[in-house]
Subunit: 509 residues, 2 copies
């Protein structure tokens, strides 16, 4: 039988060899994943992925099925991510902080075939099954103990095929499932490497949750790059600092709050030269960036969304002092445009941020209208506001849904928070609108005070008056123990509104 | 006018921002190209490319036109490479060692609109124009002094569009123009980076001719990676050694003969740690590899063809001692297969090497039959012989039809045989390499004379000189009674080497 007669799919240019299988062939003994007591080489990870695929098949999961995962960060999460291409199934990573009804809604919406969960989320899984009776559920432990079905696994990856559906909350209504293809993940990995470089000993430290795109993307990159990944079950400042020292972690994605905690924990001790980059996915206070620059810490401000398969715009440390407040320029395969009144905005003018390129999702699952609303001629309409400076560097002014419009003036909470964080008595700050003035909502602040600095509310307001236009000065300062944040560490401004000074912040994990 | 109404091309996933323009925006001041006294930053190179595009347009060159370049290595070559996407024109780099008739044939075949040449190739250009009267010709100097036409330049790159046509001598008859798309070059750059890594200070030293794919590919990589390129007009061992010491050249593609010259010139002095890799594109003698290993020189054996837009299989230094004689494993986006009797061969069995992936050319210009003969279901049938060892490492046993590699030039015996057969005194001709020059094997001919025409060896060599580049002219003509052939009548060139003029050819049936 000649190769032309081989009963295989016709060749298409978007078909690549499976990247994990290739890495297992070219560097079988290199560390792929370290998570707790589990240390897997690329050969081990490949084996684990095949084992997962066999176990899923034994449970009746077939090509095209959607497999939901409700677990904390753990090695099996990575095995599951890489099992998908072998079976041509689609992964739906779930946010473990959500309630059972919220999760049930997503599982029903996506038409999940199977829910895989941690042992300690058994009651939640049972509650979910109550809402979605036809859903099959299994613990990670039981699944991986299942005798596997020995079937031919697909050894190539179709860049146009779907790998992941990640639900993301929008400004209104139910969350929407962003559909990410292998191509989205591949181009994200390549675009990031062309920006950050690719060193032979690169090692990524992941403390972000894997059910968010910025965590998940690193598992993909690890296999594409042949880079090691160290996975922490949850963020711990001391543990993160230790890994940077002892394991040579070279690239560490964090939120600015996590970075602040690590700096606080570390004191004045410097970081080793093996640490190439700290990636920040949320707007960092300028005071924090100042500290990093003084300490020579290589911080890269980035901007991206679930819908763009992780960050797509990035600043470099070299530009940090030159372009404070900017998130940089688009990665090579991406384009950025600012839209104002339906037209591309002039440099310096604030408008909606549009993104285009091969990392942009194919759409929202089951939501043609929502998809058509945000994806037009390849451009993703992010709903975020920003402008391009004279050199083409993007400045994100605010996420659109946080905009406070008071007396006809547009007020961006992030701007006020930056001022508050510059006050010596304030550790964390969140601002949102409250609807208590005749002009509409006015800004109101929630702050976490520094334990050893005495707080003077009048003084804080005076401090803001000196630095902000009158309409931007918070009408009220609420003192709380902690601010509500997402699992990824992002401030949940929408929750602020329902808080008052007496509410223990821990209710808002 | 909303962005949906903007009169632009509809979005297609294979459209990327022009990579040089992006690098000029993100790293305007980084050194892009150093050639003699010319030192261009990425902003400079971008400017030079735009100037070239404007000058070409002023000369009447339009989108789709093919522009031939007959120059030694020089900065303007790079500007021309990057001018192509701005105008959507196609570059045809010409081998400066070829004769005017050989070049004229290629120019006519490709339908070149314009030939750009070095000042010192004026007589050659005039001779070419004699053969191809409608061809417009201009020196590099006159072209770049031309007032440019100020027209809108295309700022994106379509990965499916053609960038380069490079002529390559095949097994039979005339050379064929391999058509390489931007996608071929892009994937070559990405695949290579995923193998070699990408360091922030990477600097490529180019001593190979830019009219060959292994030289040209580096100009593309420089822009994709944002890496510096140092360009030498010609190979000079001492100069190459000096640049590695003084300019921190980190990746240096060479032939094994060049590497041997550099080692001889250098003596025992070691190389600096900034030298990350020496890439060898031809089979290196094991003795040379031994020396490199003992001296700790990071040599990467590679394998690739013009038709695959540079190397697609590569060994790493770490595998050098473990896999001597192998060229390694395919780069991540590529697949390798060995075909024997029309079927994939078992590991260890020698067969024809097949390659598949996004760096494989789209075909030969004007040669649908030749294209169909080598490209089947995405697989490029290389004509080279090799096998995969137990770990999937490729060993190349023989180059297609006994390709002679002399002084870095690929010489195809069939092309020389065709010229010999055109001589009235010659009935049969066979050519192979003999290893008697310092640059490696040079061509040697075996001929069967016509019984009724008197033979004049000097005349035959003069006949070849008129029709072939100097390096292709046989060094010796051996007269025999018959040539060794297979039962099917195919010439057994491997047997020629063991023949001498006295050996009765009948022994080699």
């Amino acid at each position: 039988m000649s190769d032309e007669e081989t009963p295989s799919l016709p060749y298409a240019e978007q078909i690549l060899p499976n990247w994990l299988i290739r890495r297992a062939a070219t560097m079988p003994d290199r560390l792929a994943l370290s998570a707790g007591d589990t240390h897997w080489t690329f050969a081990d990870l490949d084996r684990a992925a095949r084992q997962c695929a066999g176990a899923l098949a034994a449970r009746g999961v077939m090509a095209g099925d959607r497999v939901a995962l409700l677990t904390r960060n753990r090695a099996e999460f990575a095995a599951m991510v890489h099992a998908m291409p072998l079976l041509e199934t689609v992964l739906v990573p779930l946010n473990i902080r959500l309630t059972a009804p919220e999760l049930a809604w997503q599982l029903a919406d996506v038409g999940a075939r199977l829910l895989i969960y941690d042992d300690d989320r058994a009651s939640q899984a049972a509650a979910i099954q109550h809402y979605v009776p036809r859903l099959d559920i299994v613990t990670v432990e039981n699944l991986t103990d299942t005798p596997t079905l020995d079937l031919p696994l697909r050894e190539t990856i179709d860049l146009d095929a779907l790998h992941t559906i990640i639900y993301t909350s929008g400004t209104t209504g139910h969350p929407k499932g962003a559909m990410l293809t292998y191509g989205n993940h591949w181009w994200s990995a390549v675009g990031s490497a062309l920006h950050l470089g690719l060193y032979n000993n690169d090692c990524w430290l992941v403390t972000l949750p894997l059910f968010h795109i910025n965590g998940l993307a690193i598992l993909m990159r690890g296999a594409v790059y042949g880079a090691s990944v160290i996975l922490h079950a949850a963020f711990d400042a001391a543990a993160a600092n230790r890994v940077i020292d002892e394991s040579g972690a070279s690239i560490v994605p964090l939120t600015s709050r996590m970075l602040q905690c690590m700096l606080d924990e570390r004191g004045t001790q410097s970081y080793p030269a093996t640490l190439r980059y700290i990636l920040l996915g949320d707007p960092a206070p300028l005071t924090l960036l100042d500290v990093c620059e003084r300490r020579g810490l290589p911080v890269v401000q980035t901007y991206g969304l679930t819908e763009t398969a992780s960050h797509v715009v990035a600043l470099t440390p070299a530009d940090m002092s030159r372009k404070p407040g900017s998130v940089g320029q688009p990665l090579l395969p991406l384009e950025v445009r600012i839209l104002l009144d339906g037209q591309p905005a002039a440099l310096g003018r604030v408008g909606e941020i549009l993104l285009r390129g091969p990392t942009v999702m194919s759409g929202y699952v089951n939501r043609p209208d929502a998809t058509a609303a945000v994806l037009r001629n390849g451009w993703l309409h992010t709903g975020d506001l920003g402008f391009l400076d004279d050199d083409g560097y993007l400045v994100v002014v605010d996420r659109r849904n946080n905009l406070i419009i008071c007396g006809g003036e547009q007020i961006y909470p992030a701007e006020i928070e930056a001022v508050l964080l510059a006050h010596p008595a304030i550790v964390e700050a969140g601002v949102t609108g409250s609807s208590d003035t005749e002009w509409g909502p006015s800004p109101q602040a929630w702050i976490v005070p520094h334990p050893s600095v005495s707080l003077d509310e009048t003084g804080i307001i005076a401090f803001c008056r000196e630095r902000l236009a009158q309409h931007k000065v918070p009408q009220r300062i609420n003192v709380v123990e902690a601010l509500p944040r997402t699992a990824a560490g992002k401030l949940r401004r929408c929750v602020l509104r329902t808080m008052n000074a007496e509410t223990p912040a821990s209710e808002y994990g």
